[in-house]
């Protein structure tokens, strides 16, 4: 569907994107994830045509669109600020693209109302100014405006970042639902890993203009290819040498010289170790209560680790309590030190 082949983007002397290669499948919800300034929005703007690459090609449905003007690319965009025209009503905002295509009034009216119904906007809301709508409703308008012209792809640039936490979660679900309904290929940009993990079919993790890993949410979370990905996605503990040594002594195929990481939920408190697992004693320093689960900070003597335990209401450990932490070496993700970034494909 969309192929980015060896895309390089430069701003003056600064190289923003280094040989980016991505292949997005038809109907896929594909997310560009990474910290600020990593190149995810630049990649999106290269696809949409706002930025022209120094080298490489952008191919959509086997058509090279690298040098095709923005308006001829047939790509809908939902902007971070939604970019709704403040001097137009909701109806006029949605109809803007159709009017430019010189469609007839009845046809425009039919298409606007149809898409409005699909994104759950009432006739009354159509006649309102965008400033009269809530954040969630504005997002729907932005989606409707992007979809009404029938684009092949829709690109979304952090569309949830301006909303409060509760609304963000609510709209995240609606967004996924809508994408499934429309079946449209979606490219989504975010720096929020939780958003990326819950929404995406596949994720490309960006760092400093490179793609570190492309994979399903499970792949990037549980099988992070690089140290950056494993650190960026979710919370993690880097294990200290004595703990790693203990695992090596127990027969684990780990290297002391590597950087060894383990996810919080992969360690367990006061459980009987199974064969191959090790148990390390420690003291609970503090705990954070999250309702569904509890996060413990445990001092193992050589380091402090964070451990998450399901909140069953029974096994709750007090601060200062002596506990054992069980670690399975198979859950450890190891990276050789000083590993270099390579463009993933």
């Amino acid at each position: 569907m969309i192929k980015l082949n060896d895309i390089v983007v430069k701003f003056g002397d600064f190289t923003a994107l280094h040989n980016i290669n991505v292949h997005v499948k038809e109907g896929e919800f594909f997310t560009f994830l990474g910290p600020s300034g990593c190149g995810k929005t630049t990649t999106l703007r290269t696809i949409t045509g706002f930025i022209e690459p120094v080298s490489g090609t952008v191919v959509v449905k086997d058509r090279d669109i690298t040098h095709v003007p923005i308006e001829d690319r047939n790509i809908g965009i939902v902007f971070q600020s939604y970019a709704l025209f403040p001097t137009m009503t909701v109806y006029d905002n949605i109809a803007f693209g159709l009017k430019i295509k010189k469609m007839k009034k009845p046809e425009i009216d039919q298409k606007v109302r149809e898409i409005a119904r699909k994104v759950d906007l009432s006739d009354e809301q159509l006649m309102k100014a965008v400033s009269q709508l809530s954040g969630g409703q504005q997002q729907r308008v932005a989606i409707a405006r992007a979809l009404v012209t029938g684009p092949a792809i829709i690109c979304m640039d952090e569309p949830l970042s301006n909303l409060d936490a509760k609304l963000r979660v609510q709209l995240r679900n609606e967004l996924k639902q809508m994408q499934k309904e429309f079946g449209i290929t979606t490219i989504y940009v975010t720096h929020d890993q939780e958003e990326a993990l819950t929404l995406s079919d596949r994720i490309a993790v960006f760092n400093k203009g490179y793609i570190e890993q492309i994979g399903t949410p499970n792949e990037v979370y549980n099988f992070s290819k690089t140290e950056f990905v494993c650190n960026f996605i979710g919370d993690i503990n880097r294990l200290s040498t004595p703990v790693v040594q203990q695992m090596i002594d127990a027969g684990a195929a780990l290297k002391e010289t590597d950087h060894n990481y383990i996810r919080l939920e992969r360690m367990h408190v006061n459980m009987e170790p199974q064969p191959g697992q090790i148990s390390v004693t420690g003291t609970v320093i503090t705990r954070e209560y999250y309702g569904l689960y509890i996060k413990y900070y445990i001092d193992l003597g050589c380091q402090t680790v964070k451990v998450i335990e399901k909140n069953d209401g029974v096994r709750i450990y007090e601060e200062g309590q002596q506990v054992s932490v069980v670690i399975d070496p198979r859950d450890v993700m190891a990276y050789p030190p000083g590993e270099k970034k390579e463009a993933a494909s």
Binding site: T48, G49, F50, I51, E52, H67, V68, P69, I70, E71, I75, G76, I77, F79, Q80, S81, A83, L84, F85, P86, T87, M88, T89, F96, G97, I100, K101, M127, K128, A129, V130, S131, Q132, R145, T149
Partner: protein, 631 residues
């Protein structure tokens, strides 16, 4: 710009070339060449022997009394900075910061100078305070020993301009104080600071950038003062330039070159001050870093004595601001005899100052009665006054609109090319008139275009006959460009760049994006600038006085001339009454324009739709009531 954009703009290349040519024509033809001509005229003077003597004017300046005008202007500017800041800061604090009873009414009073300014305000003050003014007459009756000419010369100019120049404080300092994060005030109070300490240590520092800009602008206003010194009799630079410009070399030594030299001196002061201002502005401003800014709440003055004194001070200022306005309104409905006696006569009410005509019978010095037909007439019945109003209205509206259109087109270009040389050059070209005093531009126009040798205006003498109107429009427009640019550019920068991207993505070209997306967003600001420009130009005196011509006699000039000759040989018997009426008319027009622009025009689409809904509901309610009644 990437290759995609380059290809898109190709059809617009022609428009761009036309635009560049227009701006080059405007800059070189109506800014640079006329002013350079003025500059060079200083060094083209000829001595008594008819030989060219480049330094004759400068020698004259150093030897003669020309320096007096410079010193007088400087004295006025320096003192004005002090008095305007004291009054300006006071009125803003009294209405926005301290809890003063009746602050809303006070604010309205302090804001009257926004609709009542320029020559109208000066003549209004004269109407009250001149030797035969209403209040002076009143005081003289109570205190026979008082000096009836107290309101003349420097004191009168300083007094009048102090109150006339606080409009900018009410606009900009008020906005700055309203932008203060109240949490910072609360934090200071929480740490034990007393209210005045908070004001001094927390509030004032955030206002310093605005106050600095206002100080520089006030200084320049004082330096370039024209209408007040002219009407109240004070020898400063601008009135002298106008006098010299109209003088002939037969009467005095090289008057034109002297006028040019004074203009250049004024320009040098302005350039120095604006350089200081811009270098200060480049240092940056205090910005609120608060993400949850709290609205400023008024501070109670705890000390009862200070509280009473503050209230007294606020209401005394209110009286000073309001008295001329109220008096002018009242006397606009009084007969010429009551006005002449400067006494309010409750039996002498009339509408003749507004509309209608009456004959006037007077006794000649030969002891005969003579009748002057239609000598008493209203603003809307007096041809000359109406002509002046019409001319001023048309010229001001044209110039205000032209300045806005030029600046909007330029801003669109500058905004697109803000990181390129061409954008920066255009911006500086439009700011160029700011470096020059208005009077220098007008004087340069008057001398440069008063010939048939300027090829780029088709070898027409623009200072001849009706052409002078075009010259006035150009002068009005050019002098309003820098202000318009500063204001409109700010609103361009507030446009979310993603809106342009969104329009592009939906297929809109550059022109369509500008007309359908950007222009509607900046329109309220453009209209506000139009209104401010129009209001300033409508009662403008300085420029039309420089262009003094029978074809370019503006409202301010007409009214001034009529009042000077009031009652002479039985003509213009009610000139003062008509002036009051026309001032009231202008206040109404200015007030309506400001309300339309700042009140209705400032509403966004949502507010307009809500207002429409409310109107519709009211209509439905009313019609429902009427439908019910017969049942």
């Amino acid at each position: 710009m990437n290759r995609i954009e380059e290809r898109k703009l190709q059809p617009e290349t022609f428009l761009r070339i036309v635009g560049v040519a227009f701006f080059a024509y405007l800059f070189f033809g109506f800014m640079l060449f006329p002013c350079l001509n003025t500059l060079t005229s200083i060094f083209n003077t000829k001595n008594a022997a008819g030989e060219r003597d480049p330094f004759a004017v400068i020698r004259f300046f150093l030897a003669g009394n020309m320096a007096k005008y410079v010193w007088n202007s400087l004295k006025l500017a320096i003192l004005l900075v002090i008095t305007v800041n004291v009054i300006g800061i006071s009125i803003v604090l009294l209405t926005e910061y301290f809890d003063i009873k009746g602050a809303r009414i006070l604010r309205m009073g302090y804001m009257t100078t926004m609709i009542y300014s320029g020559v109208a305000l000066v003549t209004g003050y004269m109407f009250l305070y001149a030797s035969d003014g209403i209040l002076t007459t009143l005081f003289k009756n109570s205190f026979p020993n008082m000096n009836p000419t107290w309101f003349s010369g420097f004191n009168a100019v300083l007094f009048t301009m102090t109150f006339a120049c606080t409009s900018n404080h009410m606009l900009f300092l008020r906005n700055a104080i309203r932008g203060i994060d109240y949490n910072t005030v609360e934090a200071a109070r929480n740490m034990g600071a007393r209210p005045f300490k908070v004001l001094w240590k927390v509030v004032f520092p955030t206002l310093i950038p605005t106050m600095f800009s206002l100080t520089v602008m006030t200084f320049i206003t004082g330096l370039c003062a024209m209408s007040a010194p002219t009407l109240l009799g004070y020898d400063s630079i601008n009135p002298e330039i106008v006098r010299l410009a109209g003088s002939s070399s037969a009467d005095e030594a090289f008057p034109q070159a002297r006028a040019a030299l004074l203009s250049i001196i004024l320009a040098m002061f302005t350039i120095i001050l604006l350089t200081v201002l811009s270098s200060y502005e480049r240092k940056g401003h205090y910005l609120s870093v608060s993400k949850t800014k709290a609205r400023l709440q008024k501070q109670k003055i705890d000390n009862p004595v200070w509280n009473v004194l503050a209230h007294i001070y606020a209401y005394v200022l209110f009286i000073i601001y309001m008295t001329p306005v109220v008096m002018i309104i009242i006397f606009s409905f009084q007969t010429y005899s009551a006005i002449r006696l400067k006494k309010l006569d409750l039996t002498q009410w009339t509408l003749i100052n507004y509309y209608g005509q009456e004959d006037y019978e007077y006794l000649t010095n030969r002891g005969k009665y003579k009748t002057r037909v239609g000598s008493i007439s209203g603003v809307f019945s007096n041809e000359a006054t109406l002509g002046g109003i019409k001319l001023s209205f048309i010229l001001s509206a044209l110039a205000a609109a032209l300045a806005c259109v030029i600046v909007v087109v330029a801003c669109n270009y500058i905004f697109k090319r803000r990181n390129r040389k061409s954008g920066v050059i255009l911006e500086y070209a439009l700011l160029f008139p700011w470096l020059l005093p208005t009077i220098l531009i007008c004087y340069s126009y008057r001398t440069f275009f008063n010939s048939e040798t300027v090829w780029y205006v088709g070898n027409h003498n623009l200072y001849y006959a009706q052409n002078v109107r075009l010259l006035i429009v150009m002068a009005y427009t050019v002098t309003k460009l820098p202000f318009s640019l500063r204001m409109i550019k700010a609103s361009f920068y507030s446009i979310d760049e993603e809106l342009e991207d969104a329009a592009k993505n939906l297929g809109a070209g550059g022109l369509r994006t500008f007309l359908k997306v950007k222009l509607p967003i900046i329109l309220p600001s453009v209209l506000a600038v139009f209104a401010l420009n129009f209001n300033a130009l409508f009662t403008e005196y300085d420029m039309s006085a420089t262009f003094a011509s029978s074809y370019g006699t503006s409202y301010a000039m007409v009214i001034q001339a009529m009042c000077a000759d009031e009652g002479l040989y039985g003509y213009n018997v009610n000139a003062s009454g008509r002036r009051c009426a026309s001032t009231v008319f202008i206040m109404i027009v200015s007030g309506i324009i400001l309300y339309l622009v700042y009140g209705l025009g400032a509403r966004d689409l949502g507010e307009r739709l809500e207002a429409r809904d409310r109107r519709r509901k009211r209509r439905e309610k009313l019609s429902a009531m009427f439908q019910k009644k017969p049942a």
